[in-house]
Symmetry: C2
Subunit: 352 residues, 2 copies
């Protein structure tokens, strides 16, 4: 899934260059890293990238090794449930009994060997049972930015990885609740990554969201004769927007959560860089060139440009060719409002 | 006097483009405005511009109407006393009994008619008496950023302008003292602008700073045979750095302060722009393009570039091609430290 708009990373992310196409962390784009992370476990020929129509061409140009026709541009955004149904149809068209994983393109994950070991175990489990596996992450802090999954008792171990029955999905909690979750040891972060067989997915959809089961079947049936993007141009406009969590994960009773022990960060907004960019001598997290006098705790991103900070703290400063953002760290969620305002004002030069 | 380095206006001001050569306020450079302000009172042929060597060529290129040879570049900075002595020598060489005014190139002053009326009265007074006239400004706020002059009783009026004997010069006061000064009605801001006859200046120097009197005489004597800049290359390196306030104004007993009723602002640092750039709908003072969400009380300067502010207040944000400053308003004096650090680090590309 590589359809994120990444408006929270404006002005670096733009309509045709959202977060998954930025190289802020790890030297290459997050999408590159997402594909490379599967190296040796899932060959690029077996990867489908579902993105939005504007991004299909730029993504094909990244030369990820994924066949061009497996980069699918959605005509309009219909949230994760629709995107996963499309992926499922594409996979079923190739193998009705296929087992597949749904992965994110814009998260920071590592180390790769632990991630791959976890994913391999989940694929093994999903291949042999009518379960929906979700990759849970063992929390390392009482984060209020993630959803959580409550796990039941450990019920099985596959290839050294522990899997629990999932009891419930909970939305982003407040700080106190998150601390309780962390202390209990029974809650996992919901990474938004899933593993299941086409069969199990089909059955769960048929029970909990028949309209989406029918969509999947219609897409699958037309695939031998029509290009996928023509099919989506027909089907998507009439779909409702719904997330897979809401459509399926919060309803199904055959969900299994695995205990992911790898590092995982969805890099939700600018302050998340702090965890990936070590502080300099002044205590600022800098990508680029910065001079600071009495300034600390700031996050600075610039390229071929000097950012000078005097007497400021806890700011995010991002310089790009056409625009510079200066944002209070604790207001980083509101960067989207700048994007909305620019769109409303027709200042598209700062969005494209 | 146009020799200021204007480091407090970095990154817009640079070594070869200090404050007096910026067009932040009033549409033209402050130096342009300083020359135009004399229009009708003092013709450009009678104006000498004393600046530093690096700025002489850029200033000549401004086409101010001042003859090229009357733009004098000092080989090294020796503060205001030396610069005024050089000006005095140049004027005496033309007219030993000349009356002249010493004006600043980087202040915002207006309206011009009131300024000219004041200056004309001061010139008239100085032409007929052995006094050193200093242009005092009637304070409009308890500023702690200016020096003050304590005035004695009103002792004369010339052409409708009031002049007092000056009792003492005081350094920048604290807030409480400044408030007392303001309330008393007996204190004026020291604008650093002076009017006197060459004769009165010569006599005062001879008494209080004989070394500078001798410098002036040596420069005057060599002028018929040598170019001014060659003379200064000889004389300047051995001079001490001293301000005219310290050399003369705090010592002489024949100082008269005039009651300046015009607006005057020395535009000491970025926050001074607030008084000259009206606030926009969000309460920010913007030169250029700005988008703000929950941000107010900021000063923004940018050209052909969008500055987006989210959740910040009381900042100065200045974007230029190579560098961007983000500074707490109450720390604007420390911008000089950035300049010092860049110089120490040899990052001259950000200074030139």
């Amino acid at each position: 899934m590589a359809g994120g708009k990444g408006e929270r990373f404006w002005p670096l992310s733009r309509q045709t260059r959202p977060k998954q196409l930025l190289s802020l962390i790890g030297g290459r784009t997050l999408l590159h890293q997402a594909v490379e992370r599967l190296n040796g476990l899932i060959p690029p020929e077996r990867i489908f990238i579902i993105t939005n129509r504007d991004l299909a061409v730029p993504i094909r140009e990244l030369e990820l090794g994924v066949p061009a026709e497996q980069v699918v541009g959605e005509p309009v955004g219909r949230d994760t449930a629709a995107a996963i149904c499309v992926g499922s149809a594409l996979i079923q068209a190739r193998d009705p009994d296929g087992v597949f994983c749904v992965l994110t393109a814009d998260h920071v994950i590592g180390p790769t060997p632990i991630f791959q070991r976890t994913l391999a175990a989940a694929l093994e489990l999903a291949a042999g049972a009518n379960v929906l596996v979700t990759l849970g992450i063992r929390p390392t802090s009482p984060s209020t930015g993630y959803g959580y999954i409550e796990a039941g008792a450990a019920d099985q171990e596959v290839a050294g990885i522990t899997f629990h029955r999932a009891l419930r999905f909970v939305e982003k909690p407040d700080r106190e609740t998150a601390a309780r979750y962390l202390a209990s040891g029974l809650f996992y972060w919901n990474s938004g990554m899933f593993v299941w067989s086409a069969q199990a997915f089909r059955a769960a959809l048929a029970r909990h969201r028949p309209a989406l089961a029918e969509l999947t079947e219609r897409v699958r049936a037309r695939l031998p004769r029509e290009p996928i993007e023509a099919i989506l141009a027909d089907e998507y406009p009439k779909l409702e927007k719904i997330s897979i969590d809401y459509a399926l994960m919060e309803r199904a009773d055959n969900i299994v959560v695995c205990r992911g022990e790898f590092q995982w960060d969805d890099v939700g907004s600018w302050p998340a860089l702090e965890g990936h960019v070590p502080a300099d001598a002044d205590g600022n997290h800098v990508i680029g060139e910065c001079a600071a006098v009495g300034a600390t705790g700031n996050i600075v991103v610039a390229s071929n440009h000097l950012v000078a900070l005097v007497g400021v703290k806890d700011l995010v400063v991002v310089h790009t060719d056409g625009a510079t953002l200066v944002c209070a760290r604790d207001r980083a969620q509101d960067v989207k409002q700048i994007v909305e305002r620019l769109r409303a004002d027709g200042r598209h030069n700062h969005l494209l």
